[in-house]
């Protein structure tokens, strides 16, 4: 037993070759708690048979060089971010033993957010939180856990409530969350407390192996150099000053009720990926649309379409539908929305190019077609339409016709028509019908095919077809009427 307790754990290096200078002693000061804690962690890793599978996430602080000593996989991370990095390590390597080793400045100050959310997610990792009430590495500045009245180089007259606030009880704070499974505070100031610490360390690691979720062991650790005390006095200082503020014991333990908290990914297969992403490799014949031999009047070709209305009227969807149909017909297309808060409840507009040539600018400042479904949109965009262009507007909702006489204007009582065939929601599709009825730019069959591919509900498809037909019919009637006037 005596011999065993002095054996070096396998998970610690015998010689510290990563360290410069002397390879036999650590960089920690005499009497520092890190040495004990390193040893307990390494022993537990050995006992659990996890050396090869351990990944230690090294913080910034005195233990930034923990990788000098731990003969395990090592990752050194930015200040305070160990819980975030450890989260991703565990997700990537669910069979590994992931340890986040952090000091009080690292975990409680700069990394407060990372530890809070890691704990709240109940990540299946183990965190060792070394609390020595001071920033050791940078030379003894105040930490969130510094005691009231405690003098440090940045609280030279002692920590004051009204200046720096109270010492932070991180373990109690985290224990108030539902996420963590096991939180215990231990000390390293006498044999009894060290024995207890050793047990807690092992339990914290065991929990992870058993998939019981998030464990955090807070360790009250002496810092003789930072406190300006001898190692013996430092141990006494822990007992006399830290203990009353940070009492030892199990703060939360629901490990018995927690199982399967290890997150595992689904198996990746090319087939699954293709299915999830909807990427089809069918070598469908690629169409290339041309206007040659087309019945589309020259003025309607390669339209630059602006669609505008209230949010919720479906103008963005209508634009997407036009672009989708255009693409499947073999045109080059682009769809560009106005985006952001103005979409939510306000006006929405989008720009659609359908062209036989590659689309240069997807922005449309001089539309050849305007489809407007509310008054503000018509007022705003009607002046931008090029001479010889087309304006279609929902005359059920807009009572004033555009005043321009150099463009073709088609009033479509789209909302009224949509109402009459069953739902005002398809007013946008009526507008689409009117547009293709007027211009012949896209064939109805392709529009129907696209709608069919978008919804499986037969009734909805039929309603949309009705809406398209009604729109086409309205456009042809209007045209006939116009022609008859011409006569």
């Amino acid at each position: 037993m005596y011999a065993k307790s002095f054996q070096r754990p396998k998970s610690l290096f015998g010689e510290f070759s990563r360290k410069s200078g002397d390879h036999l002693t650590t960089h920690y000061c005499p009497g520092c708690g890190h040495g004990n804690l390193h040893k307990y962690i390494a022993e537990a890793i050995d006992e659990l048979g996890m050396q090869d599978r351990t990944v230690l996430v090294n913080p910034v602080g005195c233990s930034v060089f923990a990788y000098y000593y731990f003969d395990v996989g090592n990752i050194q991370v930015p200040h305070g971010r160990a819980p975030a990095a450890a989260t991703a390590v565990k997700r990537a390597l669910p069979d590994s033993l992931v340890i986040s080793y952090q000091g009080d400045g690292d975990l409680a100050a700069i990394g407060g957010n990372e530890i809070l959310h890691c704990a709240n997610r109940g990540e299946n990792i183990t965190v060792f939180f070394v609390n020595n009430a001071i920033y050791g590495m940078t030379g003894g500045q105040m930490a969130p856990t510094t005691l009231l009245g405690q003098r440090t180089s940045t609280s030279p007259t002692g920590r004051q409530i009204l200046e720096e606030g109270f010492p932070m009880h991180v373990s109690e704070l985290l224990a108030s969350l539902e996420g963590p499974s096991y939180i215990e505070r231990v000390g390293l100031f006498d044999n009894k407390s060290r024995m207890r610490a050793r047990k807690a360390v092992k339990k914290g690691l065991q929990n992870q192996i058993e998939g019981r979720g998030f464990s955090l062991i807070e360790v009250l650790s002496p810092c003789p150099t930072g406190w300006g005390l001898t190692p013996t006095d430092a141990c006494n200082w822990v007992k006399e000053n830290l203990l009353p503020v940070f009492p030892l014991g199990v703060i939360k333990d629901v490990t018995a009720d927690r199982e399967n908290w290890n997150r595992r990914r689904l198996e990746v297969t090319p087939e699954r990926v293709a299915e999830v992403l909807g990427i089809t490799h069918a070598t469908a014949e690629k169409r290339t649309a041309t206007w040659t031999d087309s019945n589309v009047a020259t003025c309607y070709r390669d339209p630059r379409i602006k669609l505008a209305g209230f949010g919720g009227q479906g103008v963005l969807f209508l634009g997407k539908l036009l672009a989708e149909v255009g693409m499947r017909e073999g045109f080059n297309v682009s769809w560009l929305p106005s985006y952001g808060p103005e979409m939510r409840g306000g006006t929405a507009n989008c720009a659609v190019n359908i062209s036989t040539l590659p689309v240069g600018s997807p922005l449309i400042s001089d539309p050849s077609v305007l489809i407007a479904t509310n008054r503000p949109s018509l007022d705003k965009f009607a002046p931008e339409v090029v001479s010889g262009g087309v304006i279609l507007y929902d005359s059920s909702l807009i009572d004033t016709a555009p005043t321009r006489d150099d463009v073709e204007v088609l009033a479509v009582p789209a909302t009224a028509i949509a109402d009459s065939i069953g739902s005002p929601k398809v007013a946008n599709i009526v507008m689409l019908g009117a547009y293709i009825g007027l211009t012949n730019v896209l064939p109805k069959e392709r529009v129907v095919a696209v709608i069919e591919s978008m919804t499986k509900k037969k009734a909805l498809v039929e309603l949309n077809i009705k809406a398209i037909d009604a729109g086409i019919e309205h456009a042809s009637k209007a045209h006939v009427a116009e022609d008859s006037w011409a006569v």
Partner: protein, 366 residues
């Protein structure tokens, strides 16, 4: 190969998964949120991890953790979030960890607005974090390139062992265009330097700390040499009508799309103008631009920031010819007519230059 009408922001995610990316760690921000939303839909179901982090700081450090394990990983954000990630990006570069970061730029500074700008150029192309490092920066100008350059970003990040950033603006992210996705999934090469939680990689250490000045100097020199060797020859640009051009316009992202149409119009008017569009912003197509400077009378740089890209163009041209500049900011994107006017103005200025070179010099400060 079937075409899919898709937003640039969503194309990024599908391309990433096809490129073998296994995890996405992000935080919502307009106009990049569709990337996180698409990642939430696709990553888990296709056998990866999607996690909405507590902040961009958390997200980039999760990327750091995942990259340390040797898996292809990514995040996406917009200007304010990229600013928060700069610490992590510096650590990633210092620890030589590959990852892909997508920046869908919005208006700044501060909260600015959510409309498209290109003012992240400096913070992304010139570093932004502390220390001597670079990030590889690719600048798509279509939904197809959002796919293709994301794919390429993963390849380059692995090759250089360094973060690669896809830098796009709000419009390129929000725009839907037909995209053809790659026809097979990539299986990335094994990374023997990574920490896999096994016996073979137990000795591996991921770190950016080099305590002694001599060691750190060696490390920084190593990075410098690595950048020079591994990125040699990868600078890319698109040239349009440059063959007989007497005058060149330069822009990237959405601006290059508007410029292309403006160049078409200008050509119809008989102006011999060409377009050069940087596709890689780091490494910058310095050689290509310097080459063109031998054949054109002047260049006009257009960008959605008050003069960031133009700095690199001027360094490339090195005072050989005048480099003019035109910008819109705040989310205003110039129209085709507006840029056509600038092209006409600049081409007329060239005519003036022939007559009074002295005045030209004082005018343009060359």
């Amino acid at each position: 190969m079937a075409q899919e009408l898709i937003k640039g922001n969503e194309a990024v995610v599908k391309a990433a998964i096809m490129a073998g990316c296994r995890s996405f760690y992000g935080y919502p921000i307009t106009p990049a949120s569709e990337i996180a939303e698409a990642a939430a839909r696709y990553f888990h179901e296709s056998g990866g991890t999607f996690l909405q982090a507590e902040s961009e700081v958390g997200a980039i450090n999760m990327v750091y953790g995942a990259a340390s394990c040797g898996e292809r990983t990514m995040t996406a954000s917009s200007g304010p979030g990229i600013s928060l990630m700069q610490e992590g990006i510096s650590y990633l570069a210092g620890s030589e960890l590959p990852c892909v970061i997508v920046d869908i730029m919005r208006g700044g500074p501060g909260l600015g607005n959510i409309a498209p700008e290109q003012a992240d150029y400096h913070q992304v192309v010139k570093g932004g974090g502390h220390g001597s490092y670079h990030t590889i920066v690719l600048a798509p100008n279509s939904a197809q390139e959002m796919c293709d350059l994301t794919f390429l970003a993963f390849e380059l990040a692995d090759r250089v062992r360094n973060p690669a950033i896809v830098l796009a603006d709000g419009f390129i992210g929000q725009m839907m265009e037909p995209v053809e996705f790659p026809d097979r999934m990539v299986e990335p090469d094994d990374k023997p330097w990574a920490v896999h939680g096994d016996a073979e990689t137990r000795k591996n250490l991921i770190t950016s700390i080099y305590l002694s000045p001599e060691d750190l100097e060696r490390h920084v020199r190593h990075l410098e040499t690595k950048y020079a060797l591994e990125t040699d020859g990868i600078a890319m640009c698109e040239k349009y009508h440059t063959g007989d051009a007497e005058f060149l316009v330069i822009g990237y992202g959405i601006v290059s799309r508007v410029l292309k149409t403006a160049v078409d119009h200008a050509r119809e008017m008989g102006i011999k103008v060409g377009l050069l569009r940087p596709i890689t912003l780091w490494p910058f197509p310095t050689v290509q631009i310097a080459y063109e400077a031998n054949y054109v009378k002047s260049m006009l740089v257009v960008e959605l920031s008050t003069g960031q890209l133009v700095d690199d163009v001027r360094l490339a041209v090195n005072g050989e010819i005048p480099v003019r500049f035109y910008s819109r900011v705040g989310g205003v994107v110039p129209t085709t007519d507006e840029l056509l006017t600038q092209i006409i103005k600049a081409s007329e200025a060239d005519h003036v230059r022939k007559v009074v070179p002295a005045a030209e010099e004082s005018l343009w400060g060359v």
